[in-house]
């Protein structure tokens, strides 16, 4: 299958800090690709390089099989983008904002109504953008990206700052795009929960490095049963369980997560802790959510880095 986005050894520094480190992305034409990473992971920096807004210090970007360097203008005809917050002229109306971009593209006039309709802004099209709510601004930003009927849509945290209803609406909108317009969506986010419902492929970036890339289902196979233990004396419990040969991690909410699989394991662990006079108040087997996997992937990585 043709690769829509292909990066090889993509690297970018800011001063001494490496923002994107030897990134090899591969996005093929299919549905939604979720580009995940915590704040400061390098998502925006990578996206700016994809769009030719900043230059890499090493490596190259290929879109539709062609290097962006030297072909930017012709490749960008096939790409729509929304980087961080939407760029809008507040003194113009929604329709006029689209018209500015339309003129720059030299595209056909009737694309504007279609774009407005897709993001449900037809009713408010003739109001000035300074009167728009955050959600309306975000949808207009998406309309700008969709205006030229792109084959590839690059969205950088499109739900940032929206309320739950706005997030829901935006998510529904993005989910529809691949089917309705045949566009492939490359979507960055710092929340796995946000993309797991709509993405078919995932890339996880942390401190500039790609930790995982592949189908969502592959990430799901990494889900393993864990025993979640709530105990008052956390440090002693970690000590005690580690000595007994269990694999122990801090989980969310000050609980411990132990690499145990069966109810027999649970009984054994409970007895062990009680024998050591540790006060257990919660014990349960759990399937970790993808969020936990994401967290484990990213925290293990930084722990490993610090140790090294």
């Amino acid at each position: 299958m043709e690769s829509l986005i292909e990066t090889r050894g993509l690297t970018r520094r800011f001063g001494a800090r490496i923002a994107v480190d030897d990134l090899n992305l591969s996005v093929s034409a299919a549905g939604v690709y979720g580009f995940l990473g915590p704040n400061g992971a390098g998502k925006t920096t990578a996206i700016r390089m994809l769009l030719g807004l900043i230059r890499p210090h090493a490596g190259e970007v290929r879109l539709f099989g062609l290097p962006v360097a030297g072909n930017r203008a012709s490749l960008m005809r096939r790409v729509g983008a929304l980087v961080e917050s939407p760029s809008l002229y507040p003194h113009l109306t929604g329709r006029e904002n689209l018209e500015v971009t339309r003129r720059l593209l030299g595209a056909h006039r009737n694309l504007i109504d279609g774009a407005l309709d897709t993001v449900k802004l037809t009713k408010d099209a003739d109001r000035r953008v300074r009167e728009y709510s955050l959600g309306m601004r975000q949808r207009l930003g998406l309309a700008l990206a969709l205006l030229n009927k792109p084959e590839l849509l690059i969205l950088d945290e499109p739900t940032n700052g929206l309320d739950p209803a706005g997030i829901h609406e935006m998510r529904d909108l993005i989910r529809r795009l691949p089917e309705e317009f045949g566009v492939t969506v490359f979507l960055s986010s710092h929340l796995l929960s946000e993309v797991e419902q709509i993405a078919s492929h995932i890339g996880i970036i942390h401190e500039g490095e790609l930790l995982f890339q592949g189908p969502l289902s592959e990430l799901q196979t990494k889900q393993q049963t864990q025993l979640i233990v709530g105990v008052k004396q956390i440090d002693s419990a970690i000590d005690c369980l580690t000595k007994a040969g269990w694999n122990v991690h801090h989980s969310v909410d000050g609980m411990l997560s132990v690499g145990a699989k069966t109810s027999d394991d649970a009984i054994r662990i409970n007895n062990l802790l009680v024998e050591h006079r540790l006060e257990v108040f919660h014990i349960a087997l759990a399937q970790p959510s993808l969020e936990d996997i994401f967290l484990t992937l990213t925290t293990n990585q930084s722990a490993g880095r610090r140790a090294a």
């Binding site: 700016r48 769009l51 030719g52 807004l53 900043i54 230059r55 930017r72 203008a73 012709s74 490749l75 960008m76 005809r77 790409v79 983008a81 980087v83 961080e84 917050s85 939407p86 760029s87 809008l88 002229y89 507040p90 003194h91 113009l92 006029e96 018209e99 500015v100 971009t101 003129r103 720059l104 593209l105 030299g106 700008l144």
Partner: protein, 246 residues
Amino acid sequence: MSLLRALHAELLKLKRTLAFRVIFVLPFLVATLQFFIAWRTKRFASDFNLWETLQTSSLQIWAVFMMPLLIALVTALLNGIEHSDRQWKHIFALPVPRYSIYFAKVIVAQGLIFISTFILAALIVVVGFAAMYLRPELANSGPAPYGAIAKSASLVWLASWLIIAIHTWVSMRWAGFPIPLGTGIAGTFFALFAASAAVGKYYPWLLPMNIFLEGRATTAIVLGVAGGIIAAVVGCWEFVRRDVLI
């Protein structure tokens, strides 16, 4: 072609902007001042030439003071609408070469300054006729020298291209008013000292004024136009290479 598209887009962006309003206001200020001088002067000298005086004094105030500040203001406003909501990342991700965007900005600034300068030229004529009507002793000032006024206004404008190019680059490079306006104020301020010095012949902020001075006029036009084009090309060359980080 992409330059035409960029210009077409720029025209729409001007709608409802302050940039498109100040270019009408400043010529009125100069003309109003001239009108009161012509109207309230107690006695005119016997060799007083209404049209000559009106034309040179209006256009000189314009050339040395009002227009340079207008250029600083207009370019800062024109590019301010791009900085305000971080538009560069959107515009520069479109299939339009960056140099087209840059030159469209230069050309629009030139166009606005042209309009403003010719509004002043038209107002000079209006003030002249008003003075002839209000002051009977000036009634015989003869027909308005339309050609001469238009020629001086055109030359003042051509000599301003270098200032426009400098300010376009500065205001694209730095968001907000402090640096662009500081540049304009500094440029105009040092013009006071450069005027009497030899360097005044080449000082960018004096070129529009120099078209009124014998021995400096040709240099002013050549340097204004050629220097303006070269400065725009150099500024563009620098700007298109920049990383778009905001």
